[in-house]
Each structure stands twice: as structure tokens, then as C-alpha cells.
């Protein structure tokens, strides 16, 4: 390792490593089961008690004011330790940046703390049955009433919703406006009157996402996030988080590539050698690309449509790495276990957070500057 770190950064790494070694519970039951969700919430509480749940946040909200570099260091250590995936991810990575950027002081007080220790687990309610890739065509409505709004309609594919507490999402508040305008961002409880959550089993058999039905659900004005009619703008300011750095830290893929090497060593099959090496190269490229991004951002740069380049890479890498693992396992690849679980999850990568076709459109148009249209 020749990427150089300061003494303080090395100390931070060591502190994280030691804390994780002492507290990491290892693999927990799937967070998309009642038992697993409870165990994952418990883990979030433990993380928060060590102030490791949101390291980059201000100390006032339970963070450590850590730099981006320290965040990546922490994530490297986290996955190296084999610590559990985070049930709080939607809240911490997708919602919190919006609350920090667009929320009121009251919203910060009300929601940020409870997000850091698993007290409030959030679900993202963007997609609808008729609005997937074409998200701006969404139809769920918000109608203004005394003191707030009434939500109606249906959302779908909301990850974590079966065991979550609250949701965040876009509703059409002005049906007469142009389709990207007239949308407003709302926060709402999943147990409110008029909300029905219907879990949907995913390919792996667990209810990893859900449909959410809204029947005249009242939401006070306080739970409008950002301005009325500004929902699209606010939402797009975090779409990049989902595709880019924040959800997919490189540590995760480096750890998976490492386990793939274990598998190879246990039974080296010459015809799969190149695929094993390519998985390692892919993870290494992702790690280094991330350091390039961190360097760029810390020097004052920003990440825009490049988040789509990132998403294409990690989703393809994740899938091909797991396909290689199954090839190595041979006939045993059909047997339930971690490789099959992770493989099934990797299958969804090219679909969620905007499909890879949509990401390619973004790269072609906004990074390469090719003409729009021709859909």
C-alpha cells in the first residue's frame, strides 16, 4: 500500500479496527426478516454507542466530523472485518444528505439523531407501478388541506419498508404543472392511518421490499422536505449518492474479491483463473478510482454524472464476481449459503438505483456530450 495517510488518519484506522474487532457480531440473519431486522437494529445501536454509525456527520448529531478520506478508511475496515450490512443505509445515505441540505432545523432535530442508532429505519418511496425508469411520470398525489397535505396513490419496490418505521418520497402536488415541477418531497410514518404496507418477496424469498398504498394519509406541513414543488430538484440532489460513493464503498468489493480468492485456492480450476483475477483487478480498480474521487472532492471538485460511471462499474463487477464464485463452486453452487445469497443480491444491482441502461444514457449524454433524444 503506497497511498499515503497522515498519522491522524492511521490512528483513526487503528481505532476503527480495534473497535470493530471487539464489537463486530459477524454475519446476522437477513435484515429482511423480523428476527434479522431486530438484530440489525441492535447492531446500529452498538455502532452508535461507539460513535461509528455516521462518522462524517457533525459531532452534534452523533458523528465524528470525519473527512471523506476517513470515511473511506472506516468503510475499508468495516468490510475487512466482515461486519453486517447496514439496515440504516436508506436513512443515513439517501435521506440525511437531503435533510442536511434542504431540511428545516426542526426536521434536523426530529430525525437525524434517531437515524443514527436504528431507532428510525427509513424506506425510500420513489418508484411506482407505472413510474420506474421514467420516474418523473409518477402519479401519487398530495392535496393541500388545513395544516398539511393528504397523500393518495401507490408506491412500490420500497426496500426495507416491511420492517421500517418511516418513508420518504415524491408526490405530485400540482397536477397542472410541467411533469418535473409540481412534485413535492414528503416524509411520512409507515404506521399512519391510511397507509398499507404490503411486503413483496424478492428473488431470495425474503420480503426485501414492499408496495405502499396511501389512502388519504394526512401529513403535516412540517414534513414537507425542501420547498413545495421542488421535489424533483431535491430528489436529484441525492440520486448521485445512491449511484456513487455513499452506498457502495470499495471495501465491500475488495472483501468479496478476497473471499473469491479463498474459494479459488480451495479448488483451483485453471479455466476460471482469468475470471478470478479479473474480479480482483475490478475491485482494485474500484478502490483506486474511489481514492481518485476522494482526492478530487477534497481538492474542491464535485461528482456529477460521473456517479453513473461508478454505478455501471460496481454493479457489473458485483455480478461477474459472484457468477465466477458460482462457477468455481460447480454443482454445489445451487446450495443455499452466502455465495448464493450474495449472488441473488448482485442480480439486482443493474436494476435498482436507476437501471444500467439509464446510467448509460446519462454517461453518453452528460459525460460524453452526445445528443439527447432517440429514446
Amino acid at each position: 500500500m503506497t497511498l499515503e495517510f497522515t498519522e491522524a488518519e492511521e490512528a483513526f484506522r487503528l481505532e476503527a479496527r480495534e473497535w470493530l474487532a471487539a464489537h463486530n457480531p459477524g454475519r446476522l440473519p437477513s435484515m429482511d426478516t423480523a428476527e434479522g431486522a431486530a438484530a440489525h437494529r441492535e447492531w446500529e445501536r452498538t455502532l452508535a454507542s461507539g460513535r461509528w454509525s455516521v462518522v462524517t456527520w457533525p459531532e452534534a448529531y452523533g458523528g465524528r466530523d470525519a473527512s471523506l478520506t476517513e470515511w473511506v478508511i472506516f468503510e475499508e475496515e468495516y468490510y475487512l472485518a466482515g461486519a453486517p450490512t447496514r439496515i440504516s443505509q436508506n436513512g443515513i445515505s439517501l435521506l440525511a444528505p437531503i435533510i442536511f441540505g434542504h431540511g428545516t432545523e426542526a426536521q434536523k432535530e426530529r430525525y437525524l439523531r434517531d437515524m443514527t442508532d436504528g431507532t428510525l429505519v427509513w424506506a425510500q418511496a420513489w418508484s411506482e407501478p407505472e413510474a420506474g425508469s421514467d420516474l418523473a411520470s409518477l402519479r401519487a398525489t398530495a392535496t393541500q388541506v388545513e395544516g398539511g397535505w393528504r397523500l393518495n396513490g401507490q408506491k412500490t419496490w420500497s426496500s426495507r419498508a416491511p420492517f421500517a418505521d418511516r418513508g420518504f418520497g415524491l408526490f405530485r402536488s400540482d397536477p397542472s404543472a410541467e411533469r418535473h415541477r409540481g412534485l413535492t418531497y414528503f416524509l411520512f410514518p409507515l404506521d399512519a392511518d391510511g397507509v398499507t404496507v404490503r411486503p413483496i418477496d424478492q428473488l431470495d424469498g425474503t420480503p426485501g421490499f414492499a408496495e405502499i398504498f396511501f389512502d388519504d394519509v394526512f401529513v403535516p406541513d412540517d414534513d414537507v422536505l425542501g420547498g413545495v414543488g421542488d421535489g424533483w430538484k431535491v430528489a436529484m440532489s441525492t440520486a448521485g449518492n445512491e449511484r456513487g460513493l455513499s452506498l457502495r464503498s470499495p471495501g465491500r468489493f475488495c472483501a468479496a474479491a478476497d473471499r473469491l480468492l479463498d474459494l479459488w485456492q480451495a479448488d483451483p480450476q485453471p479455466h476460471l483463473r482469468d475470471q478470478v483475477v479479473d474480479a480482483w483487478i475490478g475491485a482494485e480498480a474500484y478502490r483506486l478510482y474511489t481514492w481518485g474521487t476522494v482526492t478530487h472532492v477534497e481538492a474542491g471538485g464535485s461528482v456529477g454524472a460521473e456517479g453513473s460511471i461508478n454505478k455501471l462499474w460496481w454493479s457489473d463487477l458485483d455480478l461477474s464476481l459472484h457468477e465466477t464464485a458460482l462457477s468455481l463452486l460447480g454443482a454445489d453452487a445451487e446450495l443455499a449459503g452466502r455465495w448464493v445469497d450474495d449472488y441473488l443480491f448482485s442480480l439486482s444491482g443493474p436494476i435498482y438505483a436507476g437501471t444500467n441502461q439509464i446510467q448509460r444514457n446519462i454517461v453518453a449524454e452528460r459525460v460524453l456530450g452526445l445528443p439527447r433524444g432517440g429514446r
Binding site: L261, A285, W291, W313, L370, P371, R372
Partner: protein, 320 residues
């Protein structure tokens, strides 16, 4: 700067672009392919004035004692502009081979751009006909006699069989080979970037069915994939250079990863460039051919992808 180029390196890259963008490099390449070296050697001199030929030569010998990262900055641009000649051999490899040998006296003239040398990492040496001296690099360093010419898929690469002669030094060839491989990776990356740029420009301007073909999603998605592949190959090249500079124990593995990734990405760029250009891309006359053929040749030069993958796996397994 934790992991990126310095402002000086950006400026160096731009200076090379200014020089090479104004020169007619394709014409020099086409002449080089026929054995007419005059335009190519003129370019050699002008690049020498910018310091390219002296990058790895020590300051005492009139060079710049520059870093491997600087070397990759230069070779990426040489690849981008398709500059012909034994650049890897003279600029990236020889300065790592000759110090301490009886031929060290060549270093100053290498740095100034007066002398060109060729080095055969296997049985063939590139452009031995313009090289003042040719070496064979095996377990030891030997002078070599160029023999029969062999035709490369890339006509600007003039290859000669060599017969190894007198041994001039007992050396470990590995570090010099790694520098050659690194330079080759950077050249591949540059060639890939050029193929992508030319493709993007072409699909914006070529119309079919009443629209620029760059509006068609099938075309867009091909080019987006090239961009992704190149963007993720680049940090591997940078890292390999950083590790070579630091003499990190994993440097050889990092070099191999860079070679595999840049070979794959540049090859994808060349296949895609050919496809989106249609038949015009399949002609020798059109300059795109210079890069398409160069990439095919460089993918197998300085270690094949299979050899480098094997080396990576060996190192990973050893480290456990």
C-alpha cells in the same frame, strides 16, 4: 495530493498536447511505416526538448530524474497522438538497464534525444533499424544483432529478429521490464482515449435516418461502456507508477493489473470505434486505422494479458 496528478503533471500533459496536436503525427507514422524516419525523428527531437527522452535518466547524466508517474503522463500522450518509434525502449527501459554497465555512456545522448536504442524483451526488437544499439534482455543484458524484419499487424511497428551477442552486464531484468510494461499501459490508455474521442466526434457529425447516429441508444451505450472501462483502467496505471516509485513489494503486481486493464479497455475502445465508424473505419486510408492496429499490437507487447493475469494470481496467492 493523495491520489491524482499534480498541477505540474497536468501542465506537462498539455504542453505535449500542444506540440503533438500541431504536428502532423499521422503523416509521420505513415512515413515511418515505409522506413522513412525523417519526420518521426524530427518529432523525437522536439519531444526531447520538452524533456520526454530524459525523464528517467538521472540528472548527473543530463536527464530529469523524473518519477514513474511523470513517465505515464508522457506515454499516455504519446499513445493518444499515435507517435511512432522505440519510445518505450529508449525512454522507459534503457535508463533502467544501462546505469552501471559499460554502455552507461549512452545515457546522456539518450537523454538529449540524440541516440535511440531498442530492447528486445523476447526475440524481437522494435525499430532496430533506427536504433544506435539493440539489446536482448534475458537473465542477463546482452548486445544484440538485428536480423530479418518481421511484419507487425501495426505497420508503424517495424520488428526485427535479434541474435543475442556479447553479455554486458548481469542484471535482474524485472524492474526494467516493469517500466516498459508500465509505459506500454499508459500508451494503451492514451490510444483508447483517442479512439473514444474520435468516435464521439464522429457520431455527433455522421447522420443516418435524418439524425446524428449519436442519438441512437445502441450507439450511445457502446460508447458509454468504453468510457467506463477507460475511467477504471486509468487509476490502475497511476497506482502502478506510484508503487514503482515507492519500490513497493506489490509493484510488479500493480503493473500487471494496469497492463491487463488498459489492454482490455483500449481493445474495447478500438472495437467500438471501428463499429461506430462503419466501413470508413475499415480503411487504411482513414487515420483511425493507425490506432486500431496499434492497440492490437500493444495488447500482446510487454507481456500478454494471460501472462500478466498469471503473475497477478501468483502474487496474490503468495501473499496469503
Amino acid at each position: 495530493m493523495r491520489f491524482g496528478r499534480t498541477p505540474e503533471q497536468h501542465a506537462f500533459s498539455e504542453a505535449l498536447d500542444d506540440l503533438l496536436g500541431a504536428a502532423d503525427v499521422p503523416a509521420a507514422s505513415r512515413a515511418w511505416a515505409t522506413g522513412d524516419h525523417s519526420a518521426g525523428l524530427k518529432l523525437w527531437q522536439r519531444l526531447a526538448e520538452l524533456g520526454v527522452t530524459g525523464l528517467l535518466v538521472s540528472e548527473e547524466d543530463g536527464g530529469l530524474s523524473a518519477s514513474a508517474v511523470d513517465l505515464t503522463v508522457a506515454f499516455e500522450r504519446l499513445g493518444y497522438h499515435g507517435v511512432p518509434g522505440p519510445w518505450i525502449e529508449s525512454v522507459a527501459v534503457a535508463p533502467r538497464l544501462l546505469p552501471g554497465t559499460p554502455d552507461a555512456e549512452l545515457l546522456a545522448r539518450l537523454a538529449s534525444g540524440e541516440a535511440l536504442v531498442s530492447v528486445a524483451p523476447g526475440t524481437r526488437a522494435l525499430d532496430a533499424d533506427v536504433a544506435e544499439r539493440t539489446y536482448a534482455l534475458g537473465a542477463t543484458l546482452r548486445r544484440a544483432e538485428p536480423g530479418a524484419e518481421r511484419t507487425s499487424v501495426d505497420p508503424t511497428r517495424r520488428l526485427f529478429e535479434v541474435t543475442a551477442g556479447e553479455e554486458i552486464a548481469t542484471i535482474d531484468p524485472a524492474p526494467a521490464l516493469d517500466f516498459g510494461t508500465l509505459a506500454c499501459s499508459a500508451q494503451l490508455l492514451g490510444a483508447g482515449l483517442r479512439l473514444l474521442d474520435d468516435s464521439v466526434a464522429y457520431v455527433k457529425q455522421r447522420t443516418q435516418f435524418g439524425r446524428p447516429i449519436g442519438e441512437f441508444q445502441a450507439v450511445k451505450h457502446l460508447l458509454a461502456d468504453v468510457r467506463v472501462a477507460l475511467d477504471f483502467a486509468a487509476p490502475l496505471v497511476h497506482n502502478a507508477a506510484v508503487e514503482l516509485d515507492a519500490e513497493a513489494p506489490t509493484a510488479a503486481r500493480a503493473v500487471s493489473a494496469a497492463k491487463v486493464a488498459t489492454g482490455d479497455a483500449a481493445y474495447l475502445a478500438s472495437r467500438t470505434a471501428l463499429q461506430v465508424h462503419g466501413a470508413i473505419g475499415y480503411t487504411r486510408e482513414f487515420d483511425l486505422s493507425l490506432w486500431i492496429l496499434k492497440v492490437r499490437a500493444l495488447v500482446g507487447a510487454w507481456g500478454t494479458p494471460a501472462e500478466h493475469r498469471a503473475r497477478i494470481l501468483e502474487s496474490l496467492v503468495e501473499a496469503r
